[in-house]
């Protein structure tokens, strides 16, 4: 009932663990059968290992949290050797999330990852707000993003999904640029660039000053962005941003998402995604739906902006 096709890859259901919140999958296998998920996005990978950011990395906000991890990861060669074989035993789609400090690192990283057996989809991360060079620097301006997508498209032998930043100047134009350069899907949104101040020390809480905001507090804005993008492009859109319940997931699907990613809500309760899958199944049964595609992208209103419009 929930089986979903995302750029040619069959997912058991449209619920995917978001990058950076689920490690490499094995961490949560102690708590539930992660093989029940539609897919798992890996922790953001870069060609070269990264130690991540110094100082405090997490701060709670009303209905959300800020993080400043800074792409700490073992590097793609170590991922391929140590983590990927274990992930392949988890019986779910593997989406390799790849970041980079410069264009060359992106291209080499994606060449390596997309050539690996077991990687189903490559998620190009041009939206990490927590690294100085690379990351979100490529995800603000549509022309800059187009350059990265075009370059990695040439070496990527797997379906290519581009993870967009809500900090983009124009999220719909950004998605269109990615589609035109050969992206097979877009996922959105990554975290919002945000600030917290420690009034006692009179300094920013984070060493990097700003950090990425996630959680239920961003959901309405993320939902609006997914809706705008779904009307602007013809490729599948994967919705991300504060999804914590099956009703949240359904909102994103109705707004145009083919699938959803769940991140911060897994911290609230490790089995949140199973609850969402169960809820979607019950919804389909109660509504006599054979597929969620029936209710995908069903909001009739057209946004008031001059972008290429999707014909329903």
């Amino acid at each position: 009932m929930l089986e979903t096709t995302l750029c040619g890859v069959t997912l058991k259901n449209p619920v995917i663990a978001a990058s950076g919140t689920f490690g490499f999958g094995a961490e949560y296998d102690d708590f539930f059968d992660v093989g029940k998920l539609g897919g798992i996005c890996t922790k953001g990978l870069t060609l070269h290992p990264r130690e991540g950011n110094p100082g405090l990395r997490v701060w709670e906000t009303p209905a959300g949290m800020m993080n400043s991890v800074g792409l700490q990861n073992p590097g793609i060669p170590v991922f391929l050797e140590r983590e990927l074989p274990r992930m392949r035993t988890l019986d779910t789609a593997i989406i390799a999330n790849v970041g980079g400090g410069d264009l060359e690192e992106y291209v080499e990283g994606i060449r390596l990852v997309s050539g690996a057996e077991g990687v189903d989809i490559v998620e190009l991360n041009i939206s990490c707000p927590n690294v100085h060079e690379g990351g979100m620097a490529f995800g603000i301006d549509s022309d800059v993003a187009a350059g990265v997508v075009a370059a990695v498209r040439r070496v990527c032998t797997k379906p290519l999904m581009v993870k967009l930043s809500p900090n983009a100047e124009d999220i719909a134009a950004m998605a269109i640029a990615c589609e035109q350069e050969g992206a097979d899907a877009v996922s959105l949104v990554n975290t919002f660039k945000a600030l917290a101040v420690d009034i006692h020390t009179r300094k920013a809480v984070f060493d990097n000053v700003t950090a990425g905001l996630s959680g239920p507090c961003i959901k309405p804005i993320a939902l609006r962005m997914v809706w705008e993008v779904a009307r602007a492009v013809h490729i599948p859109v994967v919705g991300i941003g504060g999804i914590a319940t099956w009703q949240d997931a359904l909102e994103f699907i109705m707004a145009g998402a083919t699938a959803v990613q769940v991140g911060t809500a897994t911290f609230i309760k490790p089995t949140t995604m199973l609850d969402i899958i169960d809820g979607l199944e019950r919804y389909c049964a109660n509504e006599h739906l054979t597929s969620l595609s029936t209710v995908c992208n069903i909001l009739g209103t057209v946004p008031n902006c001059n972008i290429l419009r999707r014909i329903p």
């Binding site: 708590f31 991540g52 990395r57 911290f267 490790p270």
Partner: protein, 250 residues
């Protein structure tokens, strides 16, 4: 010692809530999930707000209860402190790697600062008590000391305001050469000093760290501990580390 598999327990019943000082409480919960000394649970007694559960170490445990000793220092612990007998909490755990008890030999010092005394009770229960000395520092009124004395452990107290024991920091009444192995748990600057003293005396030391956490199980990487082997995760690789491997000044 192999650690038991962690579990998610929703609706664990509160058996007791004791207020030990102005802001220190002991919460006892019915659960059979146990653990080993030095391990912790992610604890919450609320639905969505605050967003994250709170990592709290095991203070006492038996087959069907776990107790947490905690200090109220924010929204989460304020909510925990409001719990009454019969209330409910959600637990995820036991998590992390606890003390390496097999490596604790000879004369053992447990050096604690403030609420860092929390895991001491369950640790002392698993050690030959006559070999154990607890050196506990507090800002003011001590807490959780009486039970240690009933175990038969030698307890030496230091308070910053001189209200009990020796006036000053616990590190001032800690003499590393008098011990063969050391365990420490408390504020980072205090543990850094203990680690430095132990390194100087050539005494092995295990340090139990505290950190703000999100997932608590090793997935999100927001609780790094800089070590000589690079960043380790306080939640999953720790919270107990070899003090000599921790980069304390980072």
């Amino acid at each position: 010692m192999t650690s038991p598999s962690p579990a998610c327990v929703e609706g664990a019943t509160v058996l007791a809530q004791e207020r030990l000082t102005e802001d220190v409480y002991r919460l006892t919960v019915a659960t059979t999930t146990g653990g080993t000394p030095g391990q912790f649970y992610m604890v919450r007694s609320w639905d969505r707000e605050p967003l994250l559960a709170r990592p709290i170490s095991i203070h006492k445990m038996n087959e069907d209860t776990v107790s947490f000793l905690y200090q109220v220092c924010g929204r989460g612990t304020e909510l925990l402190a409001r719990l009454e007998e019969g209330g409910e909490v959600t637990l995820t755990g036991p998590l992390g790697h606890g003390f390496r008890i097999g490596e604790l030999r000879g004369r053992i010092a447990i050096v604690t600062g403030g609420i860092g005394i929390a895991p001491t009770f369950c640790l002392a229960c698993m050690l030959p008590v006559r070999d154990v000395t607890v050196i506990a520092g507090f800002e003011s009124t001590p807490y959780a000391v009486a039970e240690l004395l009933t175990l038969g452990v030698d307890v030496r107290v230091a308070t910053e305001d001189g209200s009990d024991g020796t006036r000053g920091f616990c590190t001032e009444i800690f003499d590393p050469p008098a011990f063969d192995t050391v365990v420490t748990c408390g504020p980072m600057p205090m543990m850094a000093r203990v680690a430095q003293l132990c390194a100087g005396a050539g005494v092995p030391c295990q340090a139990s760290l505290e950190a703000r956490m999100a997932c608590g199980i090793g997935a999100c990487l927001v609780c790094p501990c800089p070590t000589v082997q690079g960043n380790q995760r306080v939640c999953a690789d720790g919270p107990v580390f070899d003090a000599a491997e921790v980069i304390w000044h980072a």
